[in-house]
Symmetry: C2
Subunit: 160 residues, 2 copies
């Protein structure tokens, strides 16, 4: 997770938005004020987020937005392969934006404080591809969550 300047971020968001609206048009779907804000904020924030959290953020820009719209937009993003739903076992689905440059990452969850870290390991991905190929399948997407405990006893994660 390297640093990213404001311009780079805006550029990335812009690219994603453009790709998204291209798909919308292909599918004969529309661009609306609400949809625009939701999608833009989703790409801008660029992290796994719950419908709830996204709604809260989006309402700062468009206060009268309904949660149904957020759910519908997230569903749309998933269908169009711009987001991946994730379940971390706390009862609500999180959505991870997919930006083309970054292959889909995996998660390491601290069982002490529930902090969620991201990682991306090529050797792991290679092995997965091999396993699935052996079974005569082709991976479309994966969900890898490692629940782990911090080795360092004095680690701040040792909250609970």
């Amino acid at each position: 997770m390297g640093e990213m300047s404001e311009e780079e971020r805006e550029e990335r968001v812009e690219e994603a938005l453009q790709a998204f609206y291209e798909r919308l048009q292909e599918a004969g779907l529309k661009s609306t004020k609400q949809r625009d804000v939701i999608v833009e904020r989703f790409f801008w924030l660029d992290k796994h987020i719950s419908a709830d959290e996204l709604l809260e953020d989006v309402r700062q820009h468009q206060p009268r937005i309904g949660y149904a719209t957020v759910y519908r937009t997230l569903k749309l993003l998933v269908e169009q392969d711009f987001a991946v739903p994730k379940d971390f076992g706390d009862g609500q689905t999180r959505y991870d934006p997919i930006h083309n440059q970054d292959p889909q990452h995996d998660h390491l969850i601290c069982i002490d404080c529930r902090k969620i870290m991201e990682f991306n390991d090529q050797q792991l991905n290679d092995r997965i591809q091999a396993i699935v190929a052996d079974l005569s399948y082709t991976v479309r997407r994966k969900k890898i969550e490692l629940y782990a405990e911090c080795d360092d006893e004095s680690c701040p994660h040792k909250a609970s």
Copy 2:
């Protein structure tokens, strides 16, 4: 997934039950008709199962059992590390029994027919352990789900 004789299966169930009831006693919890049946069927069936499916199965032995009891028992099994909750994205949680001899397996889900297959790959596990160790963590449990498409066009899985 090797074959297993009836005796072996019964023996495995017996072992698991014994371990479970030992823990119960340690925790000052009780054995009841309902709990016994649920836990026994859960270990016997020995596959990821939803509360719903388990209830249906259990009711063939104890018709008056309530679903709350099944949920409570599953929760107990999870707390005591005899089961792992899994979410495959279809809205309901499945529970996987943990039997000590078999390390926790992973899943390959066919995106065409939703069939869920299990696998266990040592190289994969090794790599995971290495990744997590690098981050100064120790894996407690993992959740790996690969959503894939069958390569064989004539495969019966190509249902949808």
